[in-house]
């Protein structure tokens, strides 16, 4: 053996695995973990003037956050909007995935391609298309006025919380559809038939067999919609007006015009914690739920 190190390396699977993984792990560390740590530290500093920051440690920014009614209410509103979007998306998307998983026999692939295709078109454009639909002179108002059902445009359609919820439900739908479909498609249909043969009603079969077995997909869908929508910036900025404003819009302000980077960092950290708590709560309750069911 000329090179003992080399031969140990060649025999060690972990060593080979980690050398293959190292570029990805370095990327995650340099571009995500270190910046996030730095963001966390900035949340303990103080902005003293437009360009200067006092780097001594203080928790004052977090106190500021919870003392500002606006910020707390925007956080609550972000969570509420995100929760509603998640719920509506799940309820509306589930039957579609159920249909494709259990009723479609031919060309399932084609259905799936069609289902995921809209997700790949620009997010900004998907949001923008709702501006065309809901605007004061938009598709809905101009059609209704044309038909004679309306004299004045409906103003509540645009620049409201409702507009934000509708738009987000559309924009993130494809995300929910995939995990839901995958989990439903995995269900062995003979289990459902067995349930029926044993005399369970259609509802009981769904409640006791199909729904629990599709739980992983439901959880996946919840997380994958809640996380991006709670921090969404584009939709509230384009369609929210003052009523539909969310926490992200304030965070953007702190890094932009208002120029209070520490308070912005603290707000972002609080958002990150909210996401972490929701993620853990959802995974924990799933674990409990699936234990109880099995």
């Amino acid at each position: 053996m000329l090179n003992p190190l080399k031969s140990i390396y060649a025999k060690s699977e972990p060593a080979r695995a980690y050398s293959l993984l190292s570029p990805a792990l370095i990327l995650v560390t340099l571009v995500m973990l270190i910046p996030l740590t730095l963001m966390l530290s900035f949340s303990f500093f103080t902005q003293t003037s437009f360009t200067e920051i006092d780097y001594s440690f203080t928790v004052q920014r977090y106190i500021d956050f919870f003392q500002k009614n606006l910020l707390v209410s925007l956080l609550i509103k972000s969570i509420k909007i995100s929760f509603l979007v998640t719920l509506i998306t799940l309820l509306t998307a589930y039957p579609v995935c159920y249909y494709i998983a259990f009723y479609v026999k031919k060309n399932k692939m084609l259905w799936l391609v069609l289902l995921t295709l809209p997700f790949w078109t620009s997010y900004l454009l998907r949001v923008f298309s709702w501006k065309i639909i809901l605007g004061t002179k938009g598709v809905i108002n101009s059609s209704l006025i044309n038909v004679g059902l309306l004299n004045e445009p409906l103003t509540f359609l645009m620049y409201s919380e409702t507009a934000v919820i509708i738009t987000l439900t559309h924009a993130w739908a494809a995300f929910a559809l995939l995990p839901l479909y995958v989990s439903l498609d995995k269900i062995d249909f003979s289990l459902i038939e067995a349930g029926r043969d044993l005399g369970l009603s259609r509802f009981e079969v769904f409640w006791k067999i199909t729904l629990p077995l599709s739980l992983p997909g439901i959880i996946g869908a919840i997380l994958i919609i809640f996380i991006p929508t709670v921090g969404d910036y584009v939709t509230p900025a384009l369609l929210g007006g003052t009523d539909g404003r969310m926490l992200s819009n304030m965070i953007q302000g702190y890094f932009g015009k208002i120029n209070n980077i520490p308070l912005g960092a603290a707000s972002a950290t609080i958002m990150l914690f909210t996401v972490a708590i929701v993620t853990m709560a959802v995974s924990y309750s799933t674990k409990k739920l699936s234990q109880r069911m099995s």
Partner: protein
């Protein structure tokens, strides 16, 4: 398999309409010769497309987006290819943690990634521009690329690689002559989809571009002015057609030679 259910079929078709119709208003109104996007349509015109093409800012933004997209897709696909190989080939301690770490950009709202990159970039005293945007896009595309590539590499017969090594080919030769040709459809699919993600990405670009606008940033700036909307519609319509074609090509490549094994498109985090 269930028997027929027409109510559910109708509901499903309506849902598809909900997914598709809003987006189709963009191309529809892009050919309308009115300044507002309202019904009734006033007449057919292609002048918005001519106007769109006459903007030099748009050319710059398009070029910026192509540069960022090409670099981001090549780098993230390369990084993801190594990582996917590690997960598909080896069992090792710390596997789940490593997987979770690489997937983490999915589990963090994008605005937070953007803001944290902004802070570090400014703290280091660097100038905002396309470089930090590209870095952010590489971070964001890598988990997507890895999922696509894992799906391709899983079920790959690694004894082919071993045979090549036994026959005296070195590691690089084995990679280029045996592995690469077999992974190639997955690699191209990953390149195309990463490019599209980067090309359409807005939030990271919004915080990090400074004055070098990418195409989504250009559109964002134009969206505020009502008189400029028609040519944004034309641009949007072009982007939608272009993206759809690329994504269909990527889907087709991804499933090439996969038979019925992989019926899953796009992403699935809970596997």
């Amino acid at each position: 398999m269930e028997q027929k259910n027409n109510a559910l079929l109708i509901y499903t078709l309506l849902y598809f309409a909900f997914l598709y119709v809003p987006v189709l208003f963009l191309p529809l109104f892009s050919f309308n010769d009115g300044n507002y996007m309202s019904f009734p349509l006033t007449g057919f015109t292609t002048e918005h497309y001519e106007e769109m093409w006459s903007k030099s800012n748009l050319h710059n933004a398009l070029w910026a987006s192509i540069k960022v997209g090409v670099v981001a897709s090549i780098v993230s696909t390369t990084i993801a290819l190594f990582a996917a190989k590690a997960f598909a080939r080896y069992k090792f301690r710390g596997q789940n943690i490593s997987y979770g770490a690489i997937m983490m950009p999915f589990l963090i709202p994008e605005i937070i990634l953007a803001v944290s990159l902004l802070i570090i970039w400014l703290a280091l005293g660097f100038k905002l521009g396309l470089v930090p945007v590209t870095l952010g896009h590489i971070l964001f595309c890598t988990p997507f690329a890895m999922l696509i590539l894992i799906a391709r590499i899983e079920g790959f017969d690694f004894s082919l690689e071993e045979a090549s090594r036994d026959l005296g080919e070195n590691a690089w030769g084995t990679f280029f002559r045996v592995s690469l040709p077999l992974y190639l459809p997955g690699i191209i699919a990953s390149l195309l989809l990463s490019f599209i993600i980067s090309f359409d990405e807005f939030v990271l670009a919004f915080f990090l571009t400074g004055s070098d606008a990418t195409l989504p940033m250009y559109m964002w700036a134009q969206m505020r002015f009502v008189q400029k909307l028609p040519h944004v519609l034309a641009l949007g319509a072009v982007i939608i057609v272009f993206t759809t074609l690329i994504v269909l090509l990527a889907f087709w490549l991804r499933n090439l030679g996969q038979g019925k094994k992989k019926a899953e498109f796009g992403i699935n985090i809970h596997e």
